[in-house]
Symmetry: D2
Subunit: 327 residues, 4 copies
Amino acid sequence: MTEERYRHEIAHLARVELHTPNPDGTLWFFKDLLGMYETKREGQSVYLRGYEDPYQWSLKVTEGPEARMDHAALRTSSPEALERRIASLREGNLDGAWSDGEFGYGKTYEFDTPDGHKMALLWEVEKYQAPPQLQSKILSRASKKPLQGLPVKRIDHLNLLAREVTPVKESFERHLGMKTHERVVDGDIETGAWMSSSLLSHDVAVMRDARGARGRLHHVAFYYGIQQHTIDAAEMFRDYGIPIEAGPDRHGITQSSFLYVFEPGGNRIELFGDPGFLVLEPDFETRTWTMDQIDTGTAIGGTNLPAETYFTYGTPPIEPIPDIVRR
Amino acid sequence: MTEERYRHEIAHLARVELHTPNPDGTLWFFKDLLGMYETKREGQSVYLRGYEDPYQWSLKVTEGPEARMDHAALRTSSPEALERRIASLREGNLDGAWSDGEFGYGKTYEFDTPDGHKMALLWEVEKYQAPPQLQSKILSRASKKPLQGLPVKRIDHLNLLAREVTPVKESFERHLGMKTHERVVDGDIETGAWMSSSLLSHDVAVMRDARGARGRLHHVAFYYGIQQHTIDAAEMFRDYGIPIEAGPDRHGITQSSFLYVFEPGGNRIELFGDPGFLVLEPDFETRTWTMDQIDTGTAIGGTNLPAETYFTYGTPPIEPIPDIVRR
Amino acid sequence: MTEERYRHEIAHLARVELHTPNPDGTLWFFKDLLGMYETKREGQSVYLRGYEDPYQWSLKVTEGPEARMDHAALRTSSPEALERRIASLREGNLDGAWSDGEFGYGKTYEFDTPDGHKMALLWEVEKYQAPPQLQSKILSRASKKPLQGLPVKRIDHLNLLAREVTPVKESFERHLGMKTHERVVDGDIETGAWMSSSLLSHDVAVMRDARGARGRLHHVAFYYGIQQHTIDAAEMFRDYGIPIEAGPDRHGITQSSFLYVFEPGGNRIELFGDPGFLVLEPDFETRTWTMDQIDTGTAIGGTNLPAETYFTYGTPPIEPIPDIVRR
Amino acid sequence: MTEERYRHEIAHLARVELHTPNPDGTLWFFKDLLGMYETKREGQSVYLRGYEDPYQWSLKVTEGPEARMDHAALRTSSPEALERRIASLREGNLDGAWSDGEFGYGKTYEFDTPDGHKMALLWEVEKYQAPPQLQSKILSRASKKPLQGLPVKRIDHLNLLAREVTPVKESFERHLGMKTHERVVDGDIETGAWMSSSLLSHDVAVMRDARGARGRLHHVAFYYGIQQHTIDAAEMFRDYGIPIEAGPDRHGITQSSFLYVFEPGGNRIELFGDPGFLVLEPDFETRTWTMDQIDTGTAIGGTNLPAETYFTYGTPPIEPIPDIVRR
């Protein structure tokens, strides 16, 4: 259990770095279709942000031999919270190390989850300042909504596959102060957990990897804020050749609206329509979904999440890769 | 081919009569969930209308041993059009007969499609006149939107299963003057046709019955006019125990937004979000979908229409009835 | 009264030509913001089409000294209908003349309304054929939805200002076979009429010009098909400096969703969310709105159409031009 | 300035009590139109909750001589936070007192804002437990969405009118640990402030009372979560005789979607479509709107907030009461 006063130490998911064997395709996906702004290009990497992302970048696309998540970084709610979280990680023998020098961010503490995902914590950021022609009249908007594709506002959350869900969940609870709002159990086995340190249903989720692998990515989600835009996005993806895995529909778990696709590099991306259930109760009791309830949990509408990909495919991929991803 | 001047002889689908072995369940579905008004109750039948249906009823629910469509009636665009259509049906040896005395409608010409579906044509109707407390301030609205459930505006269209699509399609084209806007072919076999006499994508569709039966109903559709309402309806159906077959999503064929459910009597009902593509071109060329294009045809989003029900289940049902319908 | 068999002679509004004193601004508006495709550029004119417009162009933008409509053309439902309509116009002494040679269209019959608006009728069109890279997987879609701005699907309707509504309305009824679905009266004076020859609420509307001028344009409307897109468009217009006159909201008259803006040349443009009420009844009685009902008629939501522009400003403009238009 | 570690002490707005001189009308509004569940009736009061409100009630409607807010209560994020906030209030000489015995809540600390609004803080609540027939399959949902009217999910926020905004804002910042996310200034005068202790744009807002009165209510907001539902609600209100003041539209301030109406007792109620901007940055800088930017601040679409009511009418009302409220 987290002490109440450490419940708010993680502010939000700040950034993710994805590797792609198809950088041209991946950049076309994020820039031309999802309207993300490019803020820097260096070596084999391109830095991108949605029009409401507050920092220099939320997504770094790096050429690499296989699709995968390089790392994801959470921003703490204060510099002191960062120190406290690092101290807790060290107490838990989740060793890590400071790094520095990444574009747009200051010193960053890198550590591995018990399942081997590379995560990071940071406080220091460089706020994005729009040049005059990109400034929005809407003052809370970091830059104008671009006229390209169907622009996402910002990064939203991370969903990790793990050989075992429980140790990852517990380390996020114990060391980062996150709260598990919803979970799924299949008999004695915990197969999914949705966690945050705020009233969002989740900044991070962990789901059981049906292939038994460690440290893989299920998906990164980007936020529209309007459910209709996931419907518009599905039409765009359909006509521009991006394979749709499932949706648009609404999960019962978190009540959030979803659309899952595979970007041309092979990583699964979720387009997130609206946040769904906001957890206002400070003492909200974790909801546990059992297998007899899971139909509503996976989708409120008629979607059947495809067993041949949704619970087995992650990045880095394991052979055989489903045909739909290769399209 | 229809002569141009007979292209507008059918105005719209006026009414459908459904049989149900579970009249209480069926009426709860249409009245409590879909907010239809009851306008009359007589014998084993209840007459219902949506709040924008212009006549006394668009749906008659009758208790019967099995779920099925009793008949459907199209209203012609004029009394003369009715006479011309009957003459054409008779020339085509699609014999029929006049009936009269149905609540809210005048004399009606009944005939069978080449596949055995009971259809009717009529001109004479009794317009619904709302009592003062049900009058809407919106003058084109026949009555106030009720405060019950998620009210449908009106009946929209009919989808028939046929052992052979082509003869039914051709009889609607030849004798009713309908135009086929879109069709599906599987090699040499025509497996679906969407037809109307107006700029709606379809008043009537015909699809191949994979069970090889004759004269069955695939679904009757009711109209919301707003796609979000199909999403709202899915949530309602989920929580109130109505089995969802597929959707909400949008068909590529007709570009219309759909949600398919089974009413408690067993008939498939479509909730129709918006009309999708309006056929403004008077010389629109029929679009023909082939099997390599059909994924986009069936759904623009991620929906896979379930093979175990969508292409095989109709009413009256043939054993074995899929579990989902019996729920 | 129109004879029933001539009720369907006009298929739809095919094209409008607008003049603009600010062609760069006007083209930026239609191409960059509204995602229209340019199909030709010749002399002082640029030809544009929305991604579902079926012909070579629906909008011609021509540089000229003042904002105004050059002409609008309706397509008939058959070649014979065109002949019949011309014969009727001639009987009514609404003289006209054939022209030919316009890009993408064949011979065209030009005539003036009793109030002096330049209108045209035509049958011959050149269907737009998308090159391979612009072909959509959705077969009823004439071309892919572009990735630019918030693309409109197609042209929708025309709204004319007239010194006197009734003569214009009557000439459309008598000679074109249109039906007036809704009208507004202020005491003895008819101040608005919404007409079509199909089940659309209107292809053409006429409203009283409060400035007493003749032959002016109120607005041309372009179609989204999704109400949310009018909301998205309002946000885009706000941030990109296009003055919003009113909306998004829904009219009680026609039940259609609207957003009114001024393009940089000064013409009022409507973004049309969804078609609203579809007139399925073939003998629908014209609805007449009186001044005590007009609040609901003008808007179902909270919009007050601004008296200082909505009922007085049209193009060509009359001095003084309201500040909002000049922004 | 609030110390960072006290930034999360207020969880959310738990409940509001409204007085009404027209209890039948007010209850019809909240129960029949907005689908709120009644959980208790006692004396002159009725207790209501939306289907996702987690406690026994979020709204208490009490008969009284004039429309006004009796009090509003915020729930703290822990029992310790409650103690700390009370200590701070006492240090600030904002004296208060404990009360107890209210249905569904434990001991409650009542205090007045510097402008005289009655506020309360509490930790102890009785969670609502749905009886079996009202349990939702969606586990985070406290009860089924009812089939009555257009149901709101829950209470959202409070907007207070104050003779002076700054002292009220500063007391919420200093003693409750709230953060001001956005504010409006008119020259030297602060005319509005939007505050929360979470990533919501606001749990409480304060706006300058143009009538110069103290301690009045501007509005209480209820949450739909879907913008379309504010559009649906506007249609319902229009046809069922509830006066619409403004909207549906979206504020630039907070980016939230709004609809303002007057309930039959005279209190202004906001229907809140979606939360708009979520303040993820822990060091988000307060945005300050000036008068030259305020058009976008008040509405992104075409809405002009009506000066004759929006900035001057609050409850309790001051004569003369605008006609629109009396309708």
